[in-house]
Amino acid sequence: MARVMQHEEEEKVIEDPGERVHVWPHLVSIELVGALIYLLALSLMSIFIRAPLVDLANPEVTPNPAKAPWYFLGLQELLLHMHPALAGVIVPGAVLILLAAIPYIDRTRAGTGIWFSTPKGLPITKFSAVYTAVWVVGLVLLDEYLPAGEGAHGISPLLELYGFPPAVGDIFVPLVFMTFIPWSLAVIVKRRWNANTREIIIALYTFFLASFVVLTIIGTAFRGHSMQLMWPWEIGAPEGLMER
């Protein structure tokens, strides 16, 4: 059954779902099997792997490193590189608002219901992921190892050494990078692939996703004592956290 829908901007499309089947039994059986597999996997995991519980809360003993749950370790990683208001409030707030705004920026219906929408979608996704990962890893390494005199390291300390106020290194420079990377990505994708709005949005979402994944991995597996960068096998048990 095809039907014609007319939308703003005069975009005329046909929805053609093709052959249709009854939900009972075709879909409900798949759902049941999926639910049971997950229940079984979770049960096995719960039998063999214990949920962590460490010593009773103690305000006198600060664990080192003190890490948030894994899904906030990306933000905690940002916290090492910029002002806490930026890393803890403004960046996550802006990310949520921009995510919610996606369908009001990319308003066309073409490309619905197809993975990556167009033949260019997947190459753009791969390129954007690599582009973002290289930038993020490069900047993390730069901020960790850039010599800033007298044993200090990092972009912000170096700028302060040259007499800039702390706000330049903690707020201005991170804002410049966080705008420049997605902007440059959009420009490159537009020039190289002659990308339309949907394809540019794919590049930008991939920028968000790749940043989240890379920062989370760095924060989880590459930050040890005093939140210093190290290899995963060099990270020992944290101080002040006795597993029960």
Binding site: K12, L39, I114, Y205, R244
Partner: protein, 277 residues
């Protein structure tokens, strides 16, 4: 008489599912229409949507994690004591003295992590398949809010064992919230229920975790499911309309969805049923 016949062809089963086992197309329509839970689904769906590699079932599995979390969570509430003095010891009690206590706590923790991952993956699937596009814009917005609620549920739960991990996670979290421009101090006090981490903090996060946030999630996810149906069910590819197809169509420029053929089908199914009785 086969086993299925025995189970389904009796007064009790038929008092629930009036049509007996759905083995004809008509009964397959009616089983969906007549059941509250199954009515989340349309009667028929595109065959394409059955392909696991299209959706990976991520949305459904997210809500399945929520169901498991509710059941294990209620179990944990029987034994957990939300007081600074007793919270940690009640977890020790759950882990060592309570039948299935450690199992239920482990499952609550692993299902919580699974839910965060599944919700993130579900968002990513919806994004890359372009399923946020009109007319599904607002359901995407609801999804972003649900992602936030999921994070909050997980984080508030992380604090309840009142161990070192919990305590220092609150410390970091409250400091981050306290760095908000202009209203940082107020946010800090609101998060902690005072000026330092203590009993008022714990009871605040506990209440959010077991009542407010789950209720919020249930309301929002109901709207989310409702809109999946109202916005035309699962997304399927759209094609540019050929000129002759649009020429004959009436002016429906307001973009209001036409009544779908499922609705018509359901209406006819109900009419059929009424005619029968």
């Amino acid at each position: 008489m086969g086993l299925r016949e025995k189970l389904t062809n009796n007064r009790f089963f038929k008092s629930i599912y009036r049509e007996g086992y759905p083995d004809t197309d008509r009964k397959r329509v009616l089983v969906i229409i007549n059941s509250l839970a199954l009515h989340l689904h349309p009667v028929r769906i595109p065959k394409k949507a059955l392909k696991v590699s299209y959706t990976w079932g991520l949305g459904g599995l997210s809500i399945w994690m929520f169901v498991i979390l509710t059941i294990t969570g209620v179990f944990l509430m029987f034994y957990y004591i939300p007081s600074v003095k007793d919270a940690w010891w009640s977890i020790i009690n759950i882990n060592t003295n309570v039948y299935f206590g450690a199992f239920m706590r482990n499952m609550h923790r692993w299902a919580a992590h699974a839910m965060v991952i599944l919700v993130l993956l579900h968002m990513t699937r919806v994004f890359y398949t372009g399923s946020y596009k009109p007319p599904r814009e607002f359901n995407w917005v609801l999804g972003v809010v649900l992602l936030t609620v999921t994070f909050l549920l997980s984080f508030t739960g992380y604090l309840l064992p009142w161990d070192q991990l919990a305590y220092w996670a609150i410390t970091v979290g409250a400091e981050m919230g306290g760095s908000t421009p202009l209203i940082g101090k107020q946010i800090n006090v609101a998060l902690l229920g005072g000026y330092q981490i203590g009993q008022s903090t714990l009871i605040r996060w506990y209440t959010l975790h077991v009542i407010f946030l789950p209720l919020t999630l249930i309301v929002l996810v109901s709207m989310h499911f409702w809109r999946v149906r109202k916005d035309g069910n699962i997304s399927t590819p759209v094609y540019p309309a050929p000129v002759e197809a649009t020429a004959g169509s009436p002016a429906d420029g307001d973009g209001a969805p036409e009544p779908s053929d499922e609705a018509a089908e359901e209406a006819s199914g109900e009419a059929e049923e009424q005619a029968e009785s």
